[in-house]
Symmetry: C2
Subunit: 114 residues, 2 copies
């Protein structure tokens, strides 16, 4: 976490894993976590929900689906989705290339500064 | 605020004003405010700081500068900057086209649900 703000290209911080969705953290405080979720083709983050935390997704590169209770919505670079607290959500890379999604959680899991 | 999450193109919600930076809100709760800041060429949001709130900027379209204490940093679509609580920050459209920036504040100004 830089003492002085620095311009970041989120895709440069994507970490991919053959085992499943890769996660990396760009910034965290007690108030917000800014992370990058990285998906190889076919990988997914299963439907889940966060109690007391809102999540903002912003698609950085690639295309896929937002998983939602009752269905899925197509997404591509530039799309944004807010999953309010307790609303089930997930991501699936249905494209042929890599998918990179900015994931912002407020407040942070556990509520502690890191 | 939709009861069910909906995919949003932030640039479609940009509101420009001849008087200065345009602001629109995509989502708000007690935890987070997701907004769009829109700048005509030459417009700026002067250096300012938020007590107890972190701000995440993600540039959606255009190019310009992030204003920071002691200087400025060039930015363009896809760039991200986190201004932690109490750190002065701002935006200036130094380009020839419109500048659209996603601005996420956590928690929200006033700390109340809206």
């Amino acid at each position: 976490m830089p003492a002085h703000p620095t311009v970041i290209r989120p895709e440069a911080h994507a970490v991919f894993s053959p085992a499943g969705m890769g996660k990396s953290t760009l910034f965290t405080s007690s108030r917000v976590l800014v992370g990058v979720n990285a998906f190889e083709p076919g990988q997914a983050h299963a439907l889940h929900a966060h109690a007391g935390m809102d999540k903002v997704y912003h698609v950085v590169a690639g295309e896929g689906q937002f998983l939602l209770e009752g269905g899925a919505q197509a997404m591509r670079a530039g799309d944004l989705l807010v999953a309010p607290a307790d609303v089930p959500h997930g991501v699936r890379n249905t494209g042929t290339g890599r998918l990179v999604v900015l994931a912002i959680l407020a407040p942070v899991p556990g509520g502690s500064s890191a």
